[in-house]
Symmetry: C2
Subunit: 453 residues, 2 copies
């Protein structure tokens, strides 16, 4: 059997390794336009920050290790067309600049996502970056070590992680965000709070411009970026610009091939990670996800999901039978002393999905008040008014927000109502929680609100 895998960061590399173990006799070829495979892209901000000095720390498995196990790795080899009828893929060798056809019995599309580049004049200047590949991380760190000011365009997860990295490296930073507040993945009340809390620890080291676009970049005669112009006409100097205004599925090459694209714009897959074509699988950031809460389709590209999907795709194409059930949209990010974590529906998305969301927001200590390391967390809990079903939660603060969100995940998975969740028995000791955990406090208030309304 001939297995071809397109893409090799998380899902592709995992699929290759798993397929190898399941089918010792199969011929496995992995093609990627990247110069590295099997790396933790999520670790790039921590490399940039200097938590470790060798970028190789980010590599999970080297091409040589794959080759030693008989998985053939083709770097800088980009898929440009899939020929579904003849089970072939047209690959372009980016180094030699020539195209060639490869054949497959089973195809795995794991080509991930690519950064969205907004329409900014002179966006191709030197020292204007995106954060996706190992080379990006290396170049950004090198430039940051020789810069005084950095501009971050966009303020999602990666923007937040880069803000921390740059501030820790001693740079001054300007964030330019199109939305009214940073981290617009949260509900607006929480995003607003995140922004306030960030600014309260800014200490003059960074500023945040919201409801603002970058329209133009200025350069010196060497073609290096030197300044930024915004939609409202503001201008400021900068030494480097990182664009993190989101990503989109990297699936252009698959269009027109007869592979169904879902309503979210990513490749449609079933629980086996199989596309509408029997012998073609998709997994990772290029594939659509199912939200476990109500079975709706979403596109939430995250590394942890990509790993799981790559594994499931490999098992099924190898003749096994394994489901990937979907996601809750659980995510967390740290920025300086602040943790921001969420799972399930936000209130705004729950409304769009047709629920009648009711929410409460509490701000509480994360442990008993007399403990030396006590901090606040703000916790928003959302449920459906009609059924009482828990829909999601968001938690931010200097305190342990992430524990509370992970505690919610099991309840969302078990489709518990708020009333059922108020009965949860959480651990308690003064260094870990107040006597009544903020989560149970919020659940109790939410229950009363639902009953009263």
């Amino acid at each position: 059997m001939k297995i071809v895998i397109l893409g090799g960061v998380a899902a592709g590399a995992k699929a290759a390794a798993k397929a190898r173990r399941m089918l010792p006799d199969a011929v496995i070829d992995l093609y990627t336009d990247d110069t590295h495979i099997s790396y933790s892209a999520c670790g790039l901000p921590y490399y940039i920050q200097g938590n470790f000095s060798d970028y190789k720390t980010l590599l999970v498995r080297s091409p040589e290790e794959f080759e030693a196990q008989g998985v053939h790795i083709h770097l800088q080899s980009k898929a440009i067309k899939i020929l579904v009828e003849s089970n072939q893929v047209l690959i372009q060798d980016l180094q030699e600049n020539r195209a060639y056809l490869v054949e497959y019995d089973q195809l795995v599309i794991a080509t991930g996502a690519r950064p969205i580049i907004p329409p900014i004049e002179n966006v191709n200047l030197k020292n204007v970056f995106t954060v996706r590949h190992i080379e990006d991380g290396i170049a950004i760190r090198e430039k940051a070590l020789n810069s005084k000011h950095a501009t971050i365009v966009g303020s999602g997860y990666i923007g937040m992680e880069l803000l921390e990295a740059f501030v820790e490296l001693g740079l001054n930073v300007t964030i330019v965000e199109f939305a009214p507040f940073v981290m617009s993945v949260f509900d607006e009340d929480i995003s607003k709070l995140v922004q306030q809390q960030l600014m309260s620890v800014s200490d003059g080291r960074f500023e945040i411009m919201t409801s603002e676009l970058v329209t133009e970049l200025y350069s010196n005669k060497n073609g290096e970026v030197t300044g930024v112009k915004t939609g409202t006409g503001k201008e400021f100097n900068t030494d480097m610009v990182v664009i993190c205004t989101g990503v989109r599925p990297n699936i252009e090459f698959a269009r027109g091939a007869g592979i169904a694209i879902g309503e979210t714009g990513a490749i449609k897959v079933n629980k086996h990670m199989r596309t509408n074509i029997q012998n073609i699988y998709a997994c990772g950031d290029c594939a659509e996800k199912t939200l476990q809460i109500d079975g709706s389709k979403v596109w939430i590209p995250l590394g942890s999901t990509a790993n799981k999907e790559g594994r499931v795709a490999a098992i099924n194409l190898s003749g096994g039978d394994e489901d990937f059930d979907g996601v809750l949209g659980s995510a967390v990010v740290r920025c300086l002393s602040l943790t921001m974590s969420m799972t399930g529906y936000t209130e705004k998305k729950a409304k769009i999905a047709g629920f009648q969301p009711v929410s409460v927001t509490v701000t509480k200590y994360d442990r008993v008040g007399y403990m030396p390391d006590v901090n606040n967390i703000t916790l928003k809990l959302i449920a459906d008014k009609t059924t009482g079903l828990l829909l999601g939660g968001q938690a931010v603060g200097a305190g342990d927000a992430d524990k509370r969100i992970n505690t919610l995940t099991g309840a969302l998975l078990g489709k518990l109502t708020v009333e059922e969740f108020t009965r949860n028995d959480l651990t308690y000791a003064p260094p870990f929680s107040p006597t009544i955990d903020p989560l149970l406090n919020a659940a109790q208030l939410l229950l009363e609100k639902i009953k009263k309304d």
Copy 2:
């Protein structure tokens, strides 16, 4: 309506406050043999350690505050008999040394638990303590500040917290534990690991004697403890001894009154926290609990549970209708750099309860390996072989063990199988978790083990 509440630490104080809010016209009297009410007994080790200097920090609500709301507080007033037929309680005034009768329409028993004192010769010497009341904490701290060596008899939650406190105060400590390993509330493999990990950070500051009893205490002519003799004939000098060999329900006064005692030795209650007598409620450490996993009866006395039960008892006696569903047995304790956390059944208790427990234990990083504050956690996950039902988990280590255990609670509450739990979508970012969380790793291995066996 005349409401009498016996006991006033957690459950009793909570019941009094809640009943006050629900029944503004009721006469509420609270009797306790203690000299304080409404305090965080769980905070005593942190007062002893010196995390705060004023013991009043532990007080949630003062007698004066209660009195201002019309809740009459009777300190040093001990219940010695309940007369169920005539709706009366015989109270002994410990200061005046006289008894008197009080009448009730509704009675709440919240008399908690009291320390078990093992048969040790000369156990009543000066500087031999238990840890239950505010005075205990004050006396222990005062003595610890003027001591070089402390002996802790028993090594459960309180023993562990005291070990940390004494070590932080610069004392040398000897723990004497009857069981083969410390923290025998865990399965033996985990207890053994806890002990190894504790000893690895001991640095000569403490020693642990296991499978060992204290049989006798020695004293000087002032009646102060000066030494310890053990069952195997070991002798050592000490300046103070704290006995924390467990507690039992403080319900002697209720015996023979017709109030049903459960199989666990605590007062039997239904979901309304009502005893077998229509107008008598019991809540907190003196009351039996229901394990949410299978509805079996357990006695797990914890402050967080007491608070919830006090609230539910007050609502029901006030004419409301609220259930207390039970507990999972979730608990956590910190000792120096080590966190130990558990929820649900241990393997040994699951076996006794008639399950066919299967378990896996993994030791993994708690976050991505390149993060500066990465630490190990060891996680044991237990499920029933026949049904696949998740039964419980235990986590220990210098890493974030507590998050994983709380994440399990929602799954236990939702009665998820291991297979269902493998589908849980946990948050991921390098400062918070490896790409595949240890919990999902363990769940996957446990699923494979159940399927294979």
